[in-house]
Amino acid sequence: MSLNVMAYCIYLVITTLIILWVGRILHKNGRVFMLNLMQGNTHFTDTLNNILLVAYYLFNMGYALLIVTTWNRVETTAELIASLSSNLGLLILILAVTHYFNLWLVHYLSHKNAIIHS
């Protein structure tokens, strides 16, 4: 097995675990905010929450798979660790930026809502 194949295997396992884990936590903790935005409409909130979770999985898994196509050639163990780590790091950084944007969006929308309904 070439080192590239090994890198892809490790990369895909770790990314899938991170994406699933983060998605589950966001799904569980985001519900309260959405309930707030929808003025307590539980049915609508749960439906929208599930749709958003699926969209999140599709978007991130798609992006994670796209990274594999631009992987450098790996020849030594040091290169294996370095390339794995930089690609994983980039993916996690993108997740972080999206996450902070979403937090800001929730804050912004709830603020707007409060102005409309006051």
């Binding site: 903790n29 985001g30 309260v32 660790i81 370095a82 994983l88 790091g89 993916l91 937090l103």
Partner: protein
């Protein structure tokens, strides 16, 4: 020892140190931030907990992502001394970055606390004026 060994050793030392450092900082920051969250959200426990968790996830993602992203050592490591110097530069830089992020999060908490206090006072004043009118 050949040259790859030094780089691999450096990576294997850097990774656990950076990850444990991030874990330690996030753990101590977000254990104590719950008090601020309760104050900001007027004691609404569910929203305070959810916000705290979301901020913690954001902190972990941002810092672990950054730690992994800067792992690559571009220099050629030829002896132990050089390896220790390079490692120390990396870990030190990452610690300073973590410290800046810690202060940024603290700033967010204090700002949220100030804004919610201001809002509470405005609300109280509004109620008082309405009470005077009624």
């Amino acid at each position: 020892m050949n040259t790859t060994n030094f780089t691999v050793i450096a990576y294997l030392v850097y990774l656990p140190v950076a990850l444990l450092l991030t874990y330690y900082v996030a753990h101590s920051l977000f254990k104590n931030s719950l008090v601020y969250m309760r104050d900001i959200f007027n004691g609404r426990e569910d929203i305070a907990h959810a916000t705290n968790t979301l901020f913690r996830i954001g902190f972990y993602l941002l810092n672990i992502g950054f730690a992994l992203y800067i792992l690559k050592i571009h220099r050629f490591l030829y002896n132990i001394q050089h390896t220790i110097e390079t490692l120390s530069y990396k870990v030190g830089g990452f610690s300073i970055y973590l410290g800046v992020m810690l202060f940024f999060n603290l700033y967010l908490f204090f700002r949220g606390k100030r804004v919610s206090k201001q809002k509470r006072e405005e609300y109280k004043m509004l109620q008082q004026t309405q009470g005077n009118r009624g």
